[in-house]
């Protein structure tokens, strides 16, 4: 067995971090093996790849120590982010970049570029295309193609599908299986169900980068199933397990959902954790309202098994209505909806291909882009006044990148900006802030800078700020994108709890399972039109 890559007694410490990562890790990967490294966020999986390839310490300076290391003679690295792997603007220029670095003569460049494109399943016609016209999946395939031009014996892949939609994910894995058949592959991923059949070996690390499991996929699965769940890995069957799970975390310290099975439906809702100011309705449910079948029970165990009844406002109209509604980006009409309505307390999942108009819909509902037609919110028509469009009251839009919405230097200020009102005292404000922090499982450290949170925490903070602005309709642009299973479930449960308290959720997503398990209706958009509205029975 020839060893392609190996390290003995690896120890590494990031400056500024208290702990030592890896703590003496020893690992050897034979030639031709397809190895998958899994573990929780922060376990150093990407760091390990960078050490094994030599990027650490060559390109990234991090102090590290090891007994012995064997790095591959030739290697290539595919990174996670499709948009920051390329330094050139055109496909051929990017591929040529590798060949230039290797001092390949000019006349040999084009045939090699075509060959690489063919190996990953991209058309040679793309050679002159600007990279920004490619889809994210195609970009990752291009990254793989440029790696192949290095003629690597070992290829490292660092979560190549993390930032891809399902279509892109399928594309990249197809290309990987096709092009890397005969090479050593070391792969880090947490969306593993599409690739796990191709893998020879799974290596599992814990939070400190210590080896927890190492062996054939079936064996590792059998012995360490609980760890897969705990580490938030998207293993095959994770959604089914989630749905069936009776021991799900209660959200935000609410009087916990029953852990012993479905509780008999109560007429009226469980007391809410939200301070009264945030509630859309008072906690005492109006009599005449059907019992909330979600209260206190876990998903998958609703006693009645029926979709929550559609709730209408006091005058019987739906919360939000659109008629002959058009939205414009620049001067082009990108979205046209003949008629649609959203009931209060609904969870609308907006799906469709890239470019179908999903984000445009959210921007239009928040009045951030010009619109035409009728848009009625809570019985009041939103006027269309060019140049003076304001975000309608009660609507909050949560962007895909949470950092884009932060405006303050501390968690306290971040929430206080939206919470503050003239009739509130400082103590009340501080109380509300603390309450919100607790609700969203954010650290109870109001002085911390928002940028010093983990990605999942930042995501929850951005939803918290939306709630703090007393919004009753939450618009979310792909809130679970690129996240591991744990964070995904956490944010979806947060939203579910908010919905139980009367908020309405409209969410753009690619995640089929999230739609099926959480949404009450699905709007399918296609090329700027609303193709279908699908009611979902939640069982």
């Amino acid at each position: 067995m020839t060893v392609a890559v190996g390290v003995e007694q690896l120890r590494l410490k990031f400056p500024g971090e208290p702990d030592i990562l890896f703590q003496g890790l020893t690992l050897q990967i034979p030639k031709g093996q397809k190895a998958l490294i899994v573990g929780p966020s922060g376990s150093g999986k990407s760091t390990l790849l960078q050490v094994l390839s030599g990027l650490i310490p060559q390109a990234v300076e991090v102090p590290l120590k090891y007994g012995r290391i064997q790095r591959p003679a030739s290697w290539g690295f595919v990174f996670q982010d499709p948009d920051t792997q390329f330094c050139m603007s055109r496909v051929d220029e990017e591929l040529a970049f590798v060949l230039e670095n290797r001092q390949v003569p000019r006349r040999d460049m084009e045939p090699r570029m075509r060959e690489a494109l063919a190996l990953v399943g991209l058309s040679p016609d793309l050679l002159n295309a600007p990279i920004r016209t490619l889809s994210q999946g195609m970009k990752q395939r291009l990254a793989l193609a440029s790696v192949l031009l290095l003629e690597p014996e070992t290829v490292f892949l660092d979560e190549p599908s993390a930032l891809l939609d399902p279509e892109g994910t399928e594309q990249i894995w197809t290309s990987v299986k096709q092009a890397l058949k005969d090479r050593t592959v070391i792969l880090v991923e947490h969306k593993i169900d599409a690739i796990v059949d191709w893998i020879d070996r799974i290596i599992m690390l814990d939070e400190q980068g210590r080896l927890v499991a190492d062996g054939e996929p079936d064996a590792v699965f059998r012995q360490h199933k609980a760890s897969f769940e705990r580490y938030g890995i998207w293993y095959p069957g994770v959604w089914d397990d989630y749905a069936a799970s009776a021991r799900r975390r209660p959200v935000s310290g609410s009087p916990g959902p029953s852990r012993n099975g479905p509780e008999p439906s109560r007429a009226g809702r469980k007391p809410s954790v939200l301070p009264p100011a945030f509630l859309t309705h008072s906690p005492q449910a109006a009599p005449g309202r059907a019992p909330d079948s979600r209260d206190g029970t876990s998903l998958g165990e609703t006693a009645a098994g029926a979709a929550p009844p559609s709730r209408t406002g006091p005058d019987g109209r739906p919360l939000l209505e659109l008629e002959q509604f058009e939205a414009f980006r620049g001067n082009a009409c990108k979205l046209r909806i003949d008629r649609a309505a959203v009931a209060e307390g609904a969870w609308v999942a907006v799906t469709g291909e890239n470019g179908a108009g999903k984000s445009t819909l959210l921007l239009a509902l928040a009045q951030l882009v010009p619109t035409a037609g009728t848009y009625v919110l809570r019985g009041r028509t939103i006027p269309e006044i060019p140049n003076k469009r304001r975000v309608p009251e009660g609507i909050a839009l949560v962007f895909q990148n949470p950092e884009m919405q932060f405006v303050a230097d501390s968690l306290f200020d971040e929430l206080a900006v939206s919470l503050a009102s003239p009739d509130k005292s400082r103590e009340e404000l501080a109380d509300d802030v603390r309450r919100l922090l607790g609700m969203f499982h954010l650290p109870d450290d109001p002085g911390r800078h928002p940028y010093h949170l983990s990605w999942g925490q930042k995501r929850r903070l951005s939803v918290a700020t939306a709630l703090a602005s007393r919004a009753s309709v939450l618009l979310l642009d792909e809130p679970t994108f690129g996240q591991d299973a744990r964070n995904t479930f956490a944010i979806l449960e947060c939203l579910e709890a908010l919905r139980a308290d009367g908020k309405t959720v409209i969410m753009v997503t690619h995640d089929r399972r999230a739609v099926d398990h959480f949404a009450t209706e699905e709007w399918v958009l296609q090329q700027g039109r609303l193709k279908e509205v699908r009611q979902i029975r939640r069982t």
């Binding site: 390109a59 990234v60 920051t84 230039e100 290797r102 000019r106 951030l368 975000v391 962007f399 900006v417």
Partner: protein, 255 residues
């Protein structure tokens, strides 16, 4: 190339070596900077204005539109100097306005200088592909690869930053952040925009740098080039053209 820079047709100027073209045109601009001779400047203005309109491969309408800012510069600087400049042979005076022979002459000189420099800049900008320019700088002038590719990567990222700026604007609207008027508002905007945009840009830059190293980008080693930018007869011709224009301008100014 961005769309508005793309010419209707490629002319001989497009085929000239971009780095040499830059050097030659820069020499002309340097000559213009130091001179005060109106005739010299005017001749060069006509020559390069003519070059722009005849040989740049863009439509006259677009060129006129792009020249507008320089025309404004011409008007503002020449008028300012003509009305308020120093001079002895006064033609007309009222209050602080003092029009004299000298002030008119120097006003015209400065104005036409701005216009001429503008024409030369447009000739360069509208006939040069930035990617080819950096390749030529590396090949002809031994410009260090790390800076060249750094610039090229930056060119690639500019549209991304613009989009991010817009997202930030939307996000601030959603958070109901209103800015004060005037300078205070400008300062607030600076603070609120720069932090996330810088954070994102720095992250992106770091990732890109690591990716480039992973592609075996070695900054100090020789490399081959995909876009080969040779020197050809066209460059000799252009050099002759530039030299000729300077000589003609010089001769006219003495004649």
């Amino acid at each position: 190339m961005p769309e508005w820079l793309t010419p209707q047709k490629n002319t001989w100027l497009h085929r000239a070596n971009p780095a040499l073209k830059a050097a030659l045109l820069f020499a002309v601009m340097a000559a213009l900077f130091v001179t005060r001779n109106l005739v010299f400047i005017s001749v060069l203005l006509c020559v390069y204005g003519g070059l722009l309109f005849l040989s740049s491969g863009h439509s006259w309408r677009k060129l006129l539109l792009l020249s507008l800012p320089f025309v404004f510069a011409f008007l503002s600087s020449s008028l300012t100097l003509a009305l308020f400049g120093r001079g002895e042979h006064v033609l007309w005076q009222w209050g602080i306005v003092k029009i004299s022979e000298e002030s008119i002459r120097s006003g015209l000189a400065i104005g036409t200088k701005s216009l001429a420099i503008g024409m030369i800049s447009l000739v360069f900008l509208l006939t040069t592909d930035p990617v080819l320019l950096f390749y030529a700088l590396m090949q002809q002038f031994r410009f260090p690869a790390k800076y060249a590719y750094g610039f090229l990567a930056a060119v690639r990222l500019v549209p991304v930053v613009i989009e991010e700026w817009q997202t930030r604007t939307h996000a601030l609207k959603v958070r109901s952040i209103a800015f004060s008027k005037g300078v205070k508002g400008a300062y607030e905007r600076l603070k609120l925009y720069s932090v996330p945009l810088f954070a994102q840009s720095i992250r992106r830059a770091q990732r890109m740098a690591v990716a480039m190293e992973a592609k075996q980008f070695r900054m100090d080693q020789p490399r081959t080039y995909y876009h080969e930018t040779p020197c050809s007869g066209i460059d000799a011709g252009f050099a002759a053209f530039v030299l000729g224009s300077l000589l003609v301008a010089l001769a006219s100014s003495y004649g």
